[in-house]
Symmetry: C2
Subunit: 275 residues, 2 copies
């Protein structure tokens, strides 16, 4: 049996069904104790009210998604994006989230240069470190699937996240989020996770459906796809991670269409059988 | 100016418009000299007639797509798949294609074990080598995009293709096909292509559209996406490749809906401006 106290519900899993307050109530109704927050949902009611609602609940806040998208080659646009990332860090601090998921940003169509986009993301990250450090918020570098490299994140592997951590020399502030959906295919995964070690500060789970129909919004419930999720969980645990397992399922065609209570009921069951 | 003699039209680019005979005529009408053959198109008229049509044309045959899908954990199914791959090699020999693209196959939902699927693909490949050697057909290992790892190919990177080549010790028979669409996102691409060196026996080009809508059939015309195709061409050339540039664009929503002649006219133009 996995410890249910370490099960956190990422709001993405019930993104279409529930506001933040409804999600808090729904997660408590399910007898669970942790939530990972989607930043757009904060904006709906204002971060102050959101912070009060979360603090007044019995739930632990395990993370905030997301900050980033800082790869533009336009200097003014990139500076603005970094400022927005700092505001996301502020939000994380306000809701007492220990970390913010960092989503790098895509390739700038103006130069079509993925290498340059990666360099800009790394440089921009270095500029964000002091603000995160001041707030005691961890920046969780999240490698995302190569299929969203063009428009969403040029950080495509755990290996590259390790290289960025090496370059940043800010281990107190910068960690790595491992998402099963994004990394399961990687031939170097075991080695890269082992090397990441204590850098791993978040672990997200969902499954890859064989008949996947969308590049972002067709994730599967754990057990419904082909990812060896327990295998990857064991890898991160062997590397030293002992934190929450966040269930993050973007699912426009299935889970977002169901009642939130039903979704959480299935999540609880699959947490024991397929995580 | 790139040498137009090295431009080969992969039948996938005009898959919905033209039969093999129509493609031969269309490519000749466009003033081009090379075709890469889609195996299902051979089956439509029989390999004998197809071979005669190709031999009777002025076109060079640069490759055959594809053989593979040998990752089943069911021994009988895997043996049957290997036999089918050998028949594909026979077809390649019949049409005087120098190589057959090898598409590994996906993850078996029965064990959800990508590592085991890779091991089975490699073992199966070893069994296919003698038949290819006898026919003097090259097996072109084609790393495919990680987004089709689950159902199509567990060979996800050029690095892994190099490792398979190392293990097979059959450099005379096994090479690597580099497809810009499949590998452009890879942080280790330059190093892996350099290591591949003379193993590279095919080079496929198409572009990644920022608003990609399908995991297999939404490739873009060179120049319409964010891949630095000339940059990758220079990498393979630096590694020693001097062969054909095959244009392979699966495009259900755009190019397959246009007249074949129009498609080839755009391909010819983009070959000079975006390859």
């Amino acid at each position: 049996m996995l410890d249910e106290k370490l099960l956190s519900i990422h709001q993405a899993t019930v993104l279409q069904q529930w506001t933040l307050k409804q999600a808090i109530a729904g997660i408590e109704r399910a007898g669970l104790g942790a939530i990972s927050v989607w930043r757009d949902k904060l904006a709906e009611i204002g971060v102050g009210e959101a912070a009060r609602a979360l603090a007044g609940s019995g739930l632990a806040v395990t993370g905030l998604s997301f900050a980033g998208l800082i790869t533009s080659r336009d200097k003014a646009a990139a500076a603005k994006a970094r400022d927005e990332a700092r505001r996301a860090f502020d939000d994380a601090a306000a809701i007492m989230a220990p970390s913010v998921v960092f989503v790098a940003g895509g390739v700038d169509p103006g130069d079509k240069d993925v290498k340059a986009a990666r360099a800009r993301a790394l440089e921009g990250l270095a500029e964000l470190v002091p603000h995160a450090r001041a707030l005691k918020i961890k920046i969780a570098l999240e490698p995302l699937h190569p299929m969203i490299c063009a428009h969403r994140s040029v950080l495509s592997t755990v290996k590259l996240a390790n290289q960025w951590c090496d370059a940043l020399k800010a281990e107190d502030v910068v960690g790595i989020a491992v998402d099963t959906y994004a990394v399961w295919w990687d031939p170097d995964l075991e080695e890269s996770i082992s090397r990441a070690g204590k850098r791993i500060c978040a672990f997200h789970v969902s499954d890859w459906l064989v008949d996947t129909q969308d590049l972002r919004l067709d994730r599967g419930m754990m057990g419904d796809g082909v990812i060896d999720i327990p295998g990857i969980r064991r890898m991160v645990e062997k590397a030293g991670y002992a934190g929450y397992r966040e269930v993050e399922i973007f699912s426009a065609r299935n889970w977002w269409k169901r009642e939130g209570d039903e979704v959480l009921s299935v999540v609880k069951e699959r947490y024991q059988t397929a995580v």
